[in-house]
Symmetry: C2
Subunit: 250 residues, 2 copies
DNA sequence: CGTCGTTTTGAGTGGTCTCAAGACGTGTGG
DNA sequence: CCACACGTCTTGAGACCACTCAAAACGACG
């Protein structure tokens, strides 16, 4: 396995100049824009992105209440999305990595309904909503693709509801790890190792658990040999047992 | 009612009695289609609906795995949507009443990702997806409206995640009752009385609780005078206290 | 070296679940 | 009409899982 992931998060790319933005040449295109275009539609993708934007670790890409104007394709890095209520309750609604889209919750509304914060230095492609609207009318495949994106987000959320509504702590954490490692593998990373960009508390918020419970469950998994834990480095030792844990209604 | 306004190009077999379908004259329009249309767009809405469909209590409108072809505006009645896994886990993902849209989870995909079952005899308006696509390209306001619908569904789901992830049993049930009564009031029903169309078990599945806990919590609310419970008849006696319960992070 | 945020681990509490029994309303057949 | 079955709902007692409170270890960083 590659040891590219062992270097602590200091992989700042070489001074990224404001290069010309081109979806059609982006190596992430198959993840965020798997759109089959005809010859005469090839330029549509490149007209979609306005520019790129860097977001340093700990900074918001957008916040609850911000005027909605665009959605964002993550080019590199990791984000968490979160809602919070007036009384201090808050809930992490998702972790998002390269090739995924954030901001759909504000689409068509007046303002964003959640925060999106970078968990490491990150970069996104800005997709202005009005441009998306316009190009969707011109290009059926793009229109369909965005409907699919929104629909998948809904289905994903329903999956989280299933997790929160019916799983116990161990099952939730197992499902979380398997989900994350699967998405990382689809991006060329190891299928058995991963580096968590989020704290135990953020994991807990996402999974409806307290941070102590998350920590204890990690320890238990490690004791049982299911995973190895070294700070935020996790190695999946027995993926089959984890899958079994999620897929077997106790 | 005359059906002079229905499209002449309808060749659907008249399985059910083909009632005249007309959004522009529907009294629910402001709920499910609050779209501001120009003079020349007024016919768009009426071209949107293919037909209506009745669904008897206990029968599915669509099921997980069914080929996706349309979304549905609920004209009357109540539905629950539910996902279920191979191992017997299942989760009610929502209760839906008149003026609301179901089926968005399958939009743009190949097949529906959940079940939708009628909790009482109900009727829906069928909105074929290809027609929606086509009309969305012609009519910007319609396009925006459907983006808004999908986005709101996502935001709604995030709210449920907050509930499931951070609230205790009493808070969940209070939030559930307040949400439901608010939606009913928007439809002209009482703002303080409601008839539950779902069982305790279905409520529990939605709220991530066991049916016994739901029952106990109803009883507790009744003891404290917050509500009156008579089978599935609920009267909200002290809405302010319920709101306080939800809005005060313990 | 000290501070800070994060993580781990322990001990005890408490909320929800599990298992169980009985009550209630409804529909069915005798 | 009753008797009965059935699904639903209520209520109780005990178990268990996750939470709370607390303390200490750890790594990062100045």
């Amino acid at each position: 396995m590659s040891d590219a992931t062992t270097s602590p998060l200091r992989h700042d790319p070489p001074a990224l100049k404001e290069v010309q933005v081109s979806c059609s040449k982006c190596n992430l295109r198959e993840l965020c824009m798997p759109v089959r275009l005809r010859e005469d539609e090839l330029d549509v993708l490149d007209r979609l992105i306005a520019n790129r934007k860097r977001v340093p670790r700990g900074k918001p890409l957008f916040s609850n209440g911000d005027k909605f104007g665009a959605i964002y394709a993550i080019r590199s890095g990791t984000f968490k999305t979160r809602i919070n209520t007036a009384d201090g309750r808050d809930q992490v609604t998702g972790f998002h990595i390269s090739g995924e889209i954030v901001g759909l919750d504000g689409m068509g509304g007046e303002q964003h309904a959640c925060d999106a914060m970078a968990l490491e230095d990150s970069e996104v492609c800005v997709i202005p909503y009005d441009r998306l609207e316009e190009l969707s009318r011109e290009c059926t495949t793009l229109q369909q693709h965005f409907h699919r994106l929104m629909s998948r987000e809904i289905v994903r959320d329903h999956g989280v509801m299933l997790l929160l509504g019916s799983m116990r702590a161990e099952e939730r954490l197992a499902a979380f790890l398997l989900n994350l490692v699967t998405r990382m593998r689809a991006r060329g990373f190891s299928g058995s190792e991963l580096v968590l960009r989020m704290t135990r508390e953020e994991i807990g918020s996402y999974l409806g658990l307290k941070l102590e419970t998350v920590s204890r469950t990690f320890s238990k998994f490690a004791e049982e040999g299911l995973i190895s834990v070294n700070q935020r480095h996790i190695r999946i030792e027995q993926p089959e047992k984890l899958r079994q844990m999620v897929g077997t209604h106790a």
